[in-house]
């Protein structure tokens, strides 16, 4: 029963594949400029987030009585807390690296914005976790944070000394927001490619549209890649020089006319340039 019209699922699939083809979503090679430690901290942040969610789900199943009284509970509580510490540590270095790289170049504004917003949303996610510990530390932090929220004028929207409310924020609302933002961030990175570093070498082509130095999407797309290709994982991406201006050859036996000179005292009309090359 084919009516000739494509179903909405097929249209969504075609659109999704056109926007993000599988070879860009899951590339099997990376540009050569990624062979630097500074490019590692994004995925380290992601690994930390996976650890946070995994350990947090175990803590969620058992509850405060368990994580404060049993040895295994202490262990998973510590895994959860140190994963958060590492998450923020790696995320800050990732942020510094991308800031000094101007990672919003080449149409990557949404990549930058989703990353920055994910960082901002992760802060209250961690704060609500600190106030949900159910110990003296959480009591101290919640009273201090309550004063800070009141001073900022937003204390009427939530009560940091309400364990149930803070626990709901911590295990559901804010993690959902962080995971959604991180997912959007990663999909956008895959779509636009990893931002290349600035081109500091004078021996390489100057920054024009299409060169790596201006942040054009030369990431996974620029890496040719049959899956079974031997060789290094990081594929060198040659700097794309702009096409040279073709200089016409002079036919044999024909003289090159002289470059027309502008008469003394006469300006070149605006918008018109004296030709640098002989006009044939």
């Amino acid at each position: 029963m084919s009516s000739g019209r494509k179903s909405w699922t097929g249209a969504v699939r075609d659109r999704a594949v056109a926007v993000l083809p599988p070879e860009k979503l899951l590339p099997d090679s990376q540009p050569a400029y990624m062979s630097s430690w500074i490019y590692v901290f994004g995925v380290l942040s992601l690994v930390s987030l996976v650890l946070i969610i995994g350990s947090g789900m175990i803590l969620l199943l058992q509850g405060p009585d368990w994580w404060h009284t049993s040895s295994i509970g202490h262990f998973f509580n510590s895994i959860h807390m140190w994963s958060v510490e590492l998450f923020f540590f790696f995320m800050v270095i990732h942020l510094w690296g991308k800031y000094w790289m101007a990672a919003w170049r080449g149409g990557r504004r949404r990549v930058w914005i989703t990353g920055a917003v994910a960082f901002v949303v992760a802060v209250p996610c961690a704060l609500t976790g600190y106030v949900s510990q159910q110990n003296f530390d959480s009591q101290w932090i919640s009273t201090q944070a309550k004063d800070a929220m009141n001073a900022a004028g937003i204390g009427s929207f939530f009560n940091l000394m309400n364990f149930g409310q803070m626990y709901s924020y911590h295990v559901l609302l804010l993690p959902l927001a962080v995971v959604a933002l991180v997912a959007a961030h990663i999909i956008l990175v895959r779509k636009h490619g990893i931002v290349p570093p600035f081109n500091l070498s004078k021996s390489v082509a100057p920054a024009t549209n299409g060169t790596p130095s201006n942040g054009s999407p030369v990431g996974p797309r620029a890496t040719p890649g049959p899956a079974a290709r031997p060789g290094p994982r990081f594929v060198p991406v040659p700097a794309q020089r702009p096409d040279p201006v073709p200089v016409p050859e002079v036919p044999a036996g024909r003289e090159v006319p002289a470059v027309p000179e502008v008469p003394a005292g006469r300006d070149v009309p605006a918008g018109r340039e004296v030709p640098a090359e002989p006009v044939l």
């Binding site: 630097s36 540590f89 270095i93 690296g97 031997p230 290094p232 990081f234």
Partner: protein, 56 residues
């Protein structure tokens, strides 16, 4: 119960210089961040600069 690596049975230490006031633990984390950031830029990446393998 295993004791903490550091003795925590005292008020937190802080770095206080004029207007600057920060706990020692936060100062240590910030210094670590700067060190790791510098290393991430300067430290050679494994395999970087290796001669390109020829296609077989």
């Amino acid at each position: 119960m295993i004791a903490a690596i550091f003795n925590l049975n005292h008020p937190a230490h802080a770095v206080h210089w004029h207007f600057f006031f920060m706990s020692v633990s936060n100062v240590v984390v910030i210094i670590l961040l700067l060190i790791v950031f510098a290393l991430a830029i300067l430290a050679p990446f494994p395999g970087h600069g290796r001669p390109k393998q020829t296609q077989r």
